[in-house]
């Protein structure tokens, strides 16, 4: 009997939780705020689903209900992607060591 592909996805999911667990514990506490903003940015990879939904409408009806939800999700996710990565970048630029800091 063949293994259901769902099981493979579940395996990836479970293993990723473990990776997440170890990687996040190694994040230094002073960077916990950037951690939140960057996780926020990467979870917006949900835009992938939004793009598929938006482009799924046939050529003569590109504004069916399903596509409209796709378009809306694209805007939300795009705000998050750009906002999340840029604000993280802005924060990380501020973390400086002592020696670079003397004027």
């Amino acid at each position: 009997m063949e293994i259901d592909p769902f099981i493979f996805r579940l395996s990836i999911f479970i293993l990723s939780i473990f990776i997440g667990y170890y990687v996040v514990w190694s994040v230094t506490p002073s960077l916990h705020t950037p951690l939140m903003s960057v996780t926020n940015a990467i979870s917006s990879v949900i835009i992938v689903g939004a793009i598929i939904a938006a482009l799924a409408g046939s050529s003569n009806n590109i504004f069916d209900t399903s596509s409209i939800f796709g378009y809306l999700a694209i805007i939300l996710a795009a705000v998050n992607i750009f906002g999340g990565f840029l604000v993280t970048q802005r924060m990380l630029q501020m973390y400086k060591k002592k020696k670079n800091n003397k004027k």
Binding site: V45, T65, I74, G84, K98
Partner: protein
């Protein structure tokens, strides 16, 4: 158009890049590089999605247009937002992820064939379960984050809102969601799907309103975690590895942060969720005590004198510093002290502020080098050997009662041993108790000098007196 297998490999690569993005945050030196990995991962995922669709209708114009519009709005916010508003911003962003998850789930439900999930009225069982879980968690994340945002922004009072039977109501609503999902799978009826989403929105609101202002670090971390699980749910629906990996990463990241925050308050996750902390009890008896005990108070001149004659000073910042925007004035003060060869370090409690790492970002913004900033366990022993502790905007995290009085609501919470310093300068607007509603014993100690003023103004005055 590229094959499904090839795009799956690219999605895997972007998932790995996201792991590296988080890995980079283990030190400030590697963090910037990590952020670039994250951006590259995102670009790969988006480009591959376009390539895998292939046959473009005119709708692609709108997709690009909306990407640019959303991107412009996001960039604008990212550049304009003041660092003190980071907690609100993160809460706001969480709500967007949640809502996007809901929308994608709806789109998949209305047009399942576009995602290879079957046809309307005959969606694959597993997909249906996955998308309803994704939609439900997404909806809870959305409305919960909106409430968190309103509380953090001060539009809504930070005080817990509780009513009789609240927890039972939440429980019943939670069970209802599961029953509805079951019937949805059985009958594939659209109305069940909409009801699940509607109830989930309600649950999100009910879940966050009983939680008080200073428990916000836990709430934000928790919502961070939820947004991850919602993304993972959608990832299963779309059979997309990048989303599954990301969802798992974000979900566990938020869960760990919630755990760290709870531990730092010595409270169980459950008790935070049940909420209502600091709303009642102890406030009445603190009022009586206040009149009895003498308090030494001083002015900027006294504070400047004390610090000038010290050889080491530890700064303890808290939420009050963020509110008063005192971080830049504080940095100025520290510069002056350093010129007099006084050793200055910063001590940060894990729950200082309104989100994990809040104080660190503010100090970094004020150009404080990160190697002068220490976490609780790294610096706590140093208080005994230091001359002055300068407490600015922190309160409960310095309260010695947590170590001495088993009856106190914060007993057992790890606190900064500020009282072991030779003298303590405590900047505060009034003697009012902190968020936990308990009096800070520190105010009445012989070695404590209270500086009653706005944090920023007091710091500026001290700077003037240091010359």
């Amino acid at each position: 158009m590229i094959s499904a297998n090839l795009s799956a490999i690219f999605y895997l690569i972007s998932g790995i890049l996201f792991i590296l993005a988080l890995r980079g945050l283990s030190s400030p030196d590697t963090s910037r590089q990590g952020n670039y990995f994250g951006i590259i991962g995102m670009v790969i995922a988006i480009v591959v999605t376009f390539l895998s669709i292939g046959n473009f209708s005119t709708s692609i114009i709108y997709v690009f247009l909306l990407l640019i519009v959303g991107g412009a709005v996001g960039s604008f916010i990212a550049f304009r937002i003041p660092m003190t508003a980071m907690p609100e911003l993160v809460a706001g962003f969480h709500s967007l992820v949640g809502l996007a998850a809901v929308f994608v789930a709806i789109a998949a439900f209305l047009n399942p064939s576009a995602f290879n999930l079957g046809s309307i009225g005959d969606i694959k069982l597993a997909s249906l379960i996955e998308m309803s879980i994704g939609a439900a968690v997404g909806a809870i994340t959305f409305s919960g984050s909106i409430i968190a945002f309103l509380k953090l922004r001060g539009i809504m009072s930070g005080a817990p809102i509780t009513f009789v039977g609240q927890h039972y109501l939440n429980l019943i609503l939670g069970i209802t969601i599961f029953i509805l999902i079951f019937y949805l799978c059985k009958f594939q009826s659209e109305s069940f799907f909409w009801t699940v989403i509607a109830i989930s929105f309600l649950v999100g609101v009910l879940l966050i309103i009983p939680i008080g202002g200073a428990d916000m670090p836990v709430v934000i971390s928790m919502l961070n975690s939820y947004s991850g699980w919602a993304a993972a749910g959608i990832g299963f629906t779309l059979e997309n590895t990048a989303l599954i990996i990301t969802g798992a990463l974000v979900g566990s990241s938020g869960a760990i942060l919630s755990y760290i925050m709870c531990k730092a308050m010595n409270r169980s996750f459950i008790s935070v969720i049940l909420g209502g902390f600091g709303a009642d009890n102890s406030s009445s008896d603190t009022k009586d005590k206040k009149d009895q005990k003498p308090v030494k108070s001083g002015n900027a001149e006294d504070a400047a004198f004390l610090m000038k004659n010290a050889s080491s000073v530890i700064i303890v910042p808290g939420y009050g510093m963020a509110v008063a925007q005192a971080q830049h004035a504080l940095r100025e003060m520290v510069d002056k002290l350093k010129k007099n060869d006084i050793k200055v370090t910063y001590a940060i409690h894990p729950v200082a502020g309104r989100m994990p790492g809040h104080m660190n970002v503010l100090l970094a913004e004020a150009n404080v080098p990160y190697d002068e900033v220490f976490e609780l366990e790294d610096i706590n022993n140093d208080f005994a050997n230091s001359d002055v502790a300068f407490v600015i905007g922190a309160n409960d995290v310095t309260n010695p009662v947590a170590k001495t009085d088993p009856k106190s609501p914060i007993f057992g919470m790890p606190v900064l041993d500020v009282e072991k310093c030779k003298s303590v300068l405590f900047v505060k607007r009034s003697l009012s108790p902190g968020y936990a509603g308990i009096d800070n014993e520190l105010f009445y100690r012989d070695n404590t000098l209270m500086l009653f003023a706005d944090a920023k103004k007091m710091t500026e005055d001290i700077v003037k007196n240091l010359d």
